[in-house]
């Protein structure tokens, strides 16, 4: 019929080029939205109830031990001259605190997310690369925690490492006036990826980790060098120290808690029984200068993590909102639908 030359410019007659692709046209009208909202609303209310109930089952024991108030047990430790101060916080549990119990320390008004603090570390050091122990330019991220006053390289360098939380705690159950130490489990409190992949110790020199750190000095605030962080467990030293790893994972918000230990062993595997407890705090970490607070938190966790009523309530509110809206819309829709019909 038509020769090729004639219709060379004829556009292709396809659904695509002619913009006739079968399409779904979502018009947001009451008809679709009402059932949609109703379903979403009901679902949300369901989730909300579930979350809320779950959250209610979680037990939390929180104690501020900063010692701001004069009558608080740790007040005396806030005096700067008082070094190696120890104070004792007591509390009592009326019911069994079901295990496993997580033992957190908490800080507030503490800006681990401060940008310049956040970049103040050297990943290459932390992967155990000894080349980066000494030869770093002073302009690196770690500055001014790269070198000490004698110009010795600090390992691990940077503000994060330097500011590691160094209060330590011992928990005792007081049974009939005697203190029974509650075993605290410090294994596996850090992220698996941090411990196994991200952080590496330098390979020991002659079987000694300390030798690998030769020629470097400890961070200024640290009482002991990195290879002596845990004197009890030689494997918990260097950059693979669990507390160090937990600290290095910076908190997102200025009020945060970090996992300190878990109570999983022995008599307390099922939880902390009701009774009186005493927490011995080796008070080292200064927070008062910036109006910070320190606390310890005992909590058990559920599938949704720690206690948080907000999410459950929010779900409930939003769910009800959806339901209410769908009702409102139904009214409106009915009204306008009928008036439309009148027109027609």
């Amino acid at each position: 019929m038509k020769n090729e030359g004639k219709s060379a410019q004829r556009p292709d007659n396809t659904a695509f080029t002619q913009q006739r692709l079968p399409a779904w046209q979502p018009i947001l009208s009451a008809g679709i939205v009402i059932p949609g909202f109703l379903i979403i609303g009901l679902a949300f209310i369901g989730i909300g109830i579930g979350l809320f109930l779950t959250s209610q089952t979680i037990q939390v024991q929180e104690m501020d031990y900063t010692g701001v108030e004069k009558d608080s047990p740790c007040f005396r430790c806030t005096i700067p001259s008082n070094l190696n101060c120890t104070c004792e916080v007591t509390f009592s549990l009326s019911t069994l605190f079901t295990g496993p119990v997580f033992f957190y320390y908490g800080l507030s008004n503490y800006y681990q997310n401060f940008r310049r603090y956040g970049v103040s570390k050297d990943y290459n050091q932390l992967t155990g690369d000894t080349r980066y122990f000494k030869s770093r330019s002073p302009e690196e991220d770690c500055s001014p925690y790269s070198y000490d006053s004698n110009n010795n390289p600090i390992v691990p360098c940077g503000a994060i490492a330097n500011s590691i939380f160094n209060d330590t705690f011992e928990l005792y159950q007081i049974i009939n006036g005697t203190k029974k130490q509650v075993p605290l489990d410090g294994r596996g409190i850090s992220w698996w990826t941090d411990y196994n992949i991200k952080y590496r110790n330098p390979s020991p020199v002659n079987g000694s980790l300390a030798k690998a750190f030769d020629g470097t000095v400890k961070p200024i605030n640290w009482p002991r060098p990195a290879y002596e962080l845990d004197l009890t467990d030689p494997n918990n030293n260097g950059f693979l120290n669990q507390d160090f790893l937990v600290w290095m994972r910076r908190a997102a918000l200025p009020q945060f808690r970090k996992l300190y230990r878990r109570i999983t062993d022995g008599d307390y595997a099922a939880g902390l029984p009701a009774g009186n407890y005493s927490l011995t705090v080796h008070y080292n970490y200064p927070v008062l200068s910036f109006d910070g607070r320190k606390k310890v938190v005992f909590s058990n966790v559920s599938w949704m993590g720690g206690k948080n009523n907000f999410l459950g309530l929010a779900y409930l509110v939003v769910g009800s909102l959806c339901v209410v809206m769908s009702v409102v819309m139904l009214v409106v829709y009915a009204k306008f639908k009928f008036s439309d019909d009148d027109d027609a």
Partner: protein, 1323 residues
């Protein structure tokens, strides 16, 4: 040779060209400095690409901004990310642009190569023969020999042509798209013969420096004997044109390569800034302000936060003053929040527009199968302007009408010849439709294809800007031109079938048949009639060709027939009373001459089989002005050349003779097939066809003579002394010929009726005055019928008068400076004291679907103005026919002679309108008044003082018709409306006279019609029929606008929403510029993960289907009012973005606060829900979801998750300090993540969904109602469509006024009944 002194002098502002083998050292040097013929339209070379492209890209403001940001990030004190990350966006965007540029450049390079490698014959001095050379190697001064159908490689001065008359024909379709062949002439005084010996040529040429004026070439050639000959554009062969109908031509190259006129005329595609883009830039500015504000807040916050701290343990010891730190923080925040300025928006818009253009060009509904053309988008960046048109300015002829001119009727010497039978046959023709024409078009299109390959020459630069589409569309256009050219558009078979009016025929026959002398009065009339037809035949630029022989070959011998002598005698007798003086003066020579002619010619014609050696004579115009016209046989035609054509010619002539003697129509048609008339304007061809029907047949044309058949005679050669071509200022054209019968010098003038009438006014005798009066009446009548009118007049020049004029004219012709002005002046000097011969009425029928289109456009709220050069009555009539005017409309006339009356008239009209609106029921803007204004009045109203009241008046009118307007006025009107009313204007036209208007309007549309390609070349979009405008504007315009507007809004929303997440975080990190997101994700979020859906959305989204948009032109108004993108919608979007980001940030915040969540773990659910919100938001905003949308949305989401998961799995040491290792995997294994994301998404989108739903239910916009309508079944749809229209009609009706003829000014008493009449016809 010229002296050294003059060479140096001339070299400065002129160009000196000598043959390339010249010995003259200095000229040799000079010639070397001229550009060579190699063309390079590429922008880059291999080496220069990177620096040059970078440089060009840096000219964009947006790019500069991002480079500034990237650089800022290298300043350690303020850096927010690692420097290498911050340069990703800019590198990404710039490399996409660079790849696109490179690709375009590659296409240009290929086409350049093709052109440069073409071969042509160049004379080689050493080998003493022509050798083949590549085009690229041709230089100025080379002698180039070209054969028929070869493409001209450079601008050359024509030195020799194989044509005995020293002419050659070129086809300029590649250059300007004009379809007719143009004649070029060998430089005068050059020896013409069969052989051109290059060695003998040693003249030098001086001409002006290269310029881009295609129609102008000034210079002179100086022969060794110091004789100077003027050169003008008729001597110049232009690069990229094609030699036609001439066996060989030889020329000397004067401009080569980029200095040729063709290349100088090559401007790239047009760049216009669309209205939406201007708005967009405003809002980008707002975003900048927003950004600065946010940064300021952060900076101040940071300062206060710092000053409140007393050396905490987490603080980096630093003695920077908090204020200074705040200052640094300001810059850091600019880096962090940079995404607020949508970097990818500009690139995305370009891509989206390309996609939109792709769909426009691929629309089958805009495809014209007859011409095999679709719509061409020449401007790439104003698609969305099509959706916002408020004023449409249309040309009439060729735009609303076919521009296929058909002779309808004429009036000669005051007598009207109604041509009733012709009217009937025209109607039949119209009924038959274009089927025949189409057929003939397609048949021929094939042959022309090959010759067009050089189109790329003229077009390859056009793809300078961003896309490839240009190149394609240009190619396209070339094909168009070619194809259009070939059919010989003005000479289709049907047009030939002018049925002569019996009365006129009879009168004309008295001339040829009987020898009885008619009564004096009648004799004068008959001489008028003969002159009239002679003028129609001669006074034009029609070129004759016939399919059986090469076109434009001038039959060589003119053989007067037997009765010539007698006719002459009669003619002289007839004209005696009118031209006594000239007769007495001229009787001697011409008579004796014709006697001579007579005998010779007669032998030739009677014995056609005589040997070719028959003495052949041509009447030639005197080349030198001499006192007495000396008709000397000259330039014997070489037997070799003429013998072939000779016998054919004689055949033709005999046939013509037979035809002229025997007037049967069938014979006419037979002959019509043999002679094809090609004219620059279609009415010329129509007139020639008409004359032919009466036996006045144009057989051929050469620069010096015209060969015609006059009834009763055989072919006559009429010496053509001068052609004063048509000029828009003069509005007429003239030819000066020596009358074949009387031997007098006669000027025939043909032009617009008012002009000719004015020039003919000075008639003293009663007869001509009566003729004029009657003709004027007839003209008015014609105009009322909607015919195009032309007047024909003549003037007999006395020899002295002619000589005197000739001297000054020659001076004008040879002058280099001001040549155009002088020629114009010279023409005006000649065209005075004309004697009116008659007038013609040509019918130009309306294009199909024009009334429907205009109606739809008006319904869409577009004010349609018609700007035409035609008469008022014609314009009004066409306006009625195309429903621009309704019978019930008030027509307001404004025809004034002075500024004062004009001002008064405008006030009067305003008063009238006020009265009308008072009478009307309600005040609606669709008042049914139409203003008709003529050119002169328009001039007054365009003056500053009256502009205001003119515009005020037009605002109250539904439409305005400007008649008798010049091209300049057209553009002035467009500018006035565009600038003063601040509206979007669209101009549509098809001819050169519309170019300025098309360029002036916001959107210019060219109709690739019959009047060449100038309009198309200057347009933004080119369509082939007016009716396509409907879909182009109402559907594609609407779509493009809504799509782009929505996409841009979405982009703003998306960026603001995402950036605010980071901003809220600053409140919890001491305003320190921390981000809770890995910097790669941060950068890629807008650049990769969420950028494709909006592009798809911008290209494919369809709010309402095309059919519905066509059914309901009302819907177009949403675009006109910029409803999709108002400042309020922008701010609503920003507000929504703020809300969503608040939700998106604070729900995770509250969910995680107090827990042991890490910085980047906290960011994970925020990013996840932001992605969901942004994508689902897109879904809510979409009006159509096809599988493409779905796929892209899913792809985007999956891409994000795949990226972050992979990143968190594999990125062990990378990207410090925001190492993502293990974060996403850990977060996503936590059910809380999904709970947070779900809640956030629903809550964030809730208000928008609610808003939409309530709006759609309670007060749906027209668009939503249309969408709902589409869902109905076909039956329900048509029912609700009817109802919709009824509602609208009811609205309109309530605002319409009582029909009443306001009017009309005193000069136009007939107009009232004309309108009434037209109204009656239409109703």
């Amino acid at each position: 040779l010229i002296t050294r002194h003059s060479t140096l002098y001339l070299a400065k502002n002129r160009r000196v060209v000598m043959p390339s083998w010249t010995e003259h050292e200095e000229i040799k040097e000079l010639q070397k400095s001229y550009s060579r013929n190699k063309v390079r339209t590429t922008k880059y070379t291999f080496l220069s690409f990177i620096p040059k492209n970078l440089f060009e890209q840096l000219h964009r403001f947006a790019n500069l901004y991002f480079i500034f940001l990237a650089a800022l990030n290298f300043v350690p004190i303020v850096n927010a990310f690692q420097p290498e990350i911050s340069i990703i966006p800019i590198v990404f965007v710039m490399s996409i642009t660079a790849v696109k540029d490179l690709w375009e450049d590659q296409r240009r390079r290929k086409s350049d190569q093709k052109v440069n490698n073409r071969l042509c014959d160049v004379y080689d001095r050493k080998q003493k023969r022509y050798v083949e050379r590549r085009w690229a190697e041709v230089c100025v001064g080379d002698l180039v020999r070209l054969c028929c159908n070869e493409i001209i490689p450079a601008d050359m001065v024509l030195l020799h042509s194989s044509d005995p008359n020293g002419v050659c024909h070129i086809e300029t379709a590649n250059l300007d798209g004009e379809t007719n062949l143009k004649q070029r002439q060998v430089v005068r005084d050059l020896p013409q013969g069969s052989e051109f010996v290059p060695e003998n040529y040693s003249s030098h040429i001086e001409c002006e420096n290269p310029n881009n004026d295609l129609r102008r070439f000034r210079g002179f050639m100086e022969h060794p004997g110091k004789v100077r000959v003027g050169l003008h554009s008729e001597n110049l062969l232009l690069r990229s044109c094609t030699v036609r109908n001439t066996e060989t031509v030889i020329g000397i190259v004067v401009y080569a390569g980029h200095e040729t006129k063709a290349m100088q005329n090559n401007s790239g595609p047009r760049y216009k800034r669309s209205k939406l883009e201007r708005r967009l830039n405003m809002d980008v500015l707002w975003c900048v302000i927003l950004l600065l504000l946010m940064c300021l807040i952060a900076a101040v916050g940071h300062g206060f936060w710092l000053s409140g701290l007393q050396n905490p343990i987490y603080m980096i010891p630093d003695d920077t003053h908090p204020a200074l730190a705040a200052f640094y923080m300001f810059w850091t925040m600019i880096i962090v929040l940079q995404v607020l300025i949508p970097i990818s928006l500009y690139v995305s818009i370009e891509i989206v527009k390309l996609g939109q253009i792709y769909f426009i060009q691929n629309d089958l509904d805009l495809y014209n199968p007859v011409l095999d053309t679709g719509v061409q988008c020449r401007a790439l960046n104003i698609t969305e302007d099509l959706g916002q048109i408020q004023f449409l300015f249309s040309d009439k002829t060729g735009t609303l009408t076919e521009n296929r001119m058909l002779f309808r009727r004429c009036t000669v010497a005051g007598t009207e010849y109604p041509h009733h039978e012709n009217a009937i046959s025209l109607e039949q023709y119209e009924d038959q439709g274009c089927g025949d024409a189409d057929h003939s078009l397609t048949l021929r299109s094939r042959t022309s294809r090959k010759s067009l390959s050089c189109k790329s020459l003229s077009c390859n630069r056009s793809s300078v800007s961003l896309n490839t589409l240009t190149a394609e569309s240009d190619t396209h256009s070339v094909h168009d031109t070619l194809r259009r050219h070939t059919p010989g558009a003005f000479s289709g078979t049907m047009e030939c079938a002018v049925v002569p009016d019996p009365q006129l025929q009879a009168k004309l026959n008295t001339l040829s048949s009987a020898m009885r002398s008619p009564p004096r009065q009648q004799a004068a009339e008959i001489s008028h009639i003969l002159d009239f037809f002679l003028a129609l035949t001669v006074c034009n630029t029609v070129v004759v060709s016939s399919p059986t022989q090469p076109r434009h070959v001038m039959p060589v011998v003119r053989t007067p027939l037997r009765s010539l002598e007698e006719m002459k005698a009669m003619f002289q007798k007839l004209s005696l009373p009118r031209f006594p003086s000239s007769l007495s003066q001229n009787t001697d020579t011409p008579t004796s001459l014709t006697k001579k002619l007579f005998t010779r010619g007669r032998s030739a014609s009677y014995f056609p089989n005589n040997s070719p050696q028959t003495p052949i004579m041509t009447l030639q115009s005197p080349t030198t002005p001499s006192g007495t016209p000396s008709y000397t046989p000259s330039t014997p035609v070489t037997p070799a050349l003429s013998s072939g054509a000779w016998s054919e010619d004689v055949d033709d002539i005999q046939k013509a003779k037979v035809n002229s003697a025997d007037e049967s129509e069938s014979d006419d048609e037979d002959e019509a097939e043999e002679l094809l008339y090609e004219a620059e304007s279609p009415d010329e061809a129509a007139l020639v066809q008409a004359a032919k029907a009466y036996g006045c047949t144009l057989l051929g044309r050469s620069p010096e003579q015209v060969l015609v058949v006059v009834p009763g005679t055989g072919p006559l050669s009429i010496p053509l002394l001068h052609v004063l071509p048509f000029h828009s200022a003069r509005k007429r054209m003239s030819v000066v010929v020596r009358h074949p019968l009387t031997g007098e010098v006669v000027v025939y003038t043909k032009g617009a009726d008012n002009v000719i009438m004015e020039l003919a006014e000075a008639a003293e005798d009663g007869f001509s005055r009566e003729v004029m009066e009657r003709t004027q009446r007839n003209l008015d009548q014609y105009a009322r019928e909607g015919l195009r009118t032309l007047c024909v007049a003549k003037k007999v020049l006395e020899e002295q008068e002619y000589e005197a004029w000739l001297k000054r004219h020659e001076y004008a012709e040879t002058s280099i400076e001001n040549r155009e002005e002088l020629l114009l002046e010279s023409a005006e000097r000649l065209e005075t004291n004309l004697t009116l011969l008659g007038a013609t009425g040509i019918v130009d029928r309306l294009q199909e679907e024009v009334p429907e289109t205009i109606e739809a456009l008006q319904e869409a709220g577009i004010k349609v103005w018609v700007l035409t050069g035609d008469k008022q009555e014609t314009a009004i009539n066409i306006a009625f026919a195309c429903k621009l005017l309704r019978p019930t409309d008030h027509i307001l006339m404004a025809n004034c002679d002075s500024k004062e009356t004009c001002e008064a008239r405008l006030h009067e009209l305003q008063h009238e309108i006020r009265q009308v609106t008072k009478e009307g029921v309600s005040e609606d803007d669709s008042s049914d008044c139409v203003l008709v204004i003529d050119g002169r009045t328009l001039d007054y109203t365009l003056q500053k003082e009256l502009q205001g009241s003119f515009l005020e008046l037009t605002c109250c009118c539904r439409s305005v018709i400007c008649c008798r307007s010049t091209p300049l006025q057209k553009s002035q009107v467009v500018r006035l409306v565009r600038d003063k009313l601040k509206v979007m204007t669209l101009a549509i036209g098809d001819g050169a006279n519309d170019v300025s208007m098309i360029q002036m309007a916001d959107v210019g549309i060219g109709i690739s019609g019959q009047e060449g390609m100038q309009a198309v070349m200057s347009s933004d979009f080119a369509i082939s029929r007016f009716k396509f405008l409907r879909k182009l504007i109402l559907v594609h315009g609407h779509w493009c606008y809504t799509r782009l507007a929505n996409m841009i809004l979405y982009f703003f929303y998306k960026n603001v929403m995402y950036v605010n997440l980071l901003f809220w975080y600053q409140f919890f990190c001491g305003f320190s510029g921390s981000t809770m997101t890995n910097s790669w994700v941060l950068i890629f979020f807008n650049l990769l993960f969420t950028s494709v859906p909006p592009i798809i959305y911008g290209v494919l989204d369809k709010d309402v289907s095309g059919e519905t948009l066509l059914d309901l032109p009302d819907l177009y108004k949403s675009g006109q009012n910029s409803q999709a993108y108002l400042p309020s919608t922008f701010w609503m979007n920003i507000l929504d973005a703020f809300y969503q980001s608040l939700v998106c940030f604070f729900i995770p915040y509250f969910a995680y606060t107090g827990s042991d969540i890490g910085v980047f773990s906290f960011g994970s659910p925020i990013n996840g829900s932001a992605l969901l919100i942004i994508l689902l938001h897109q879904l809510i905003e979409s009006r159509t979801v096809t599988w493409i949308h779905t796929a892209i949305l899913l792809f985007s989401a999956l891409f994000y998750y795949a990226f972050v998961l992979l990143f968190s799995l594999t990125c062990v040491t990378c990207n410090s300090p925001t190492n993502p290792l293990g974060i996403e995997t850990k977060m996503m294994s936590d059910p809380l993540y999904y709970l947070v994301c779900g809640l956030t998404t629903v809550l964030a989108l809730l208000p928008r969904i609610l808003c939409r739903t309530f709006c759609n239910t309670i007060c749906p916009s027209d668009l939503v109602r249309a969408q709902k309508m589409e869902r109905l079944s076909a039956q329900d749809y048509s029912m609700s469509l009817r109802q919709w229209k009824e509602n609208k009609a009811a609205q309109r009706l309530s605002s319409r006024h009582v029909p009443q003829n306001l009017s009309v000014n005193a000069d136009m008493p007939h107009l009232t009944d004309c309108i009434a009449e037209a109204g009656a016809v239409l109703s």
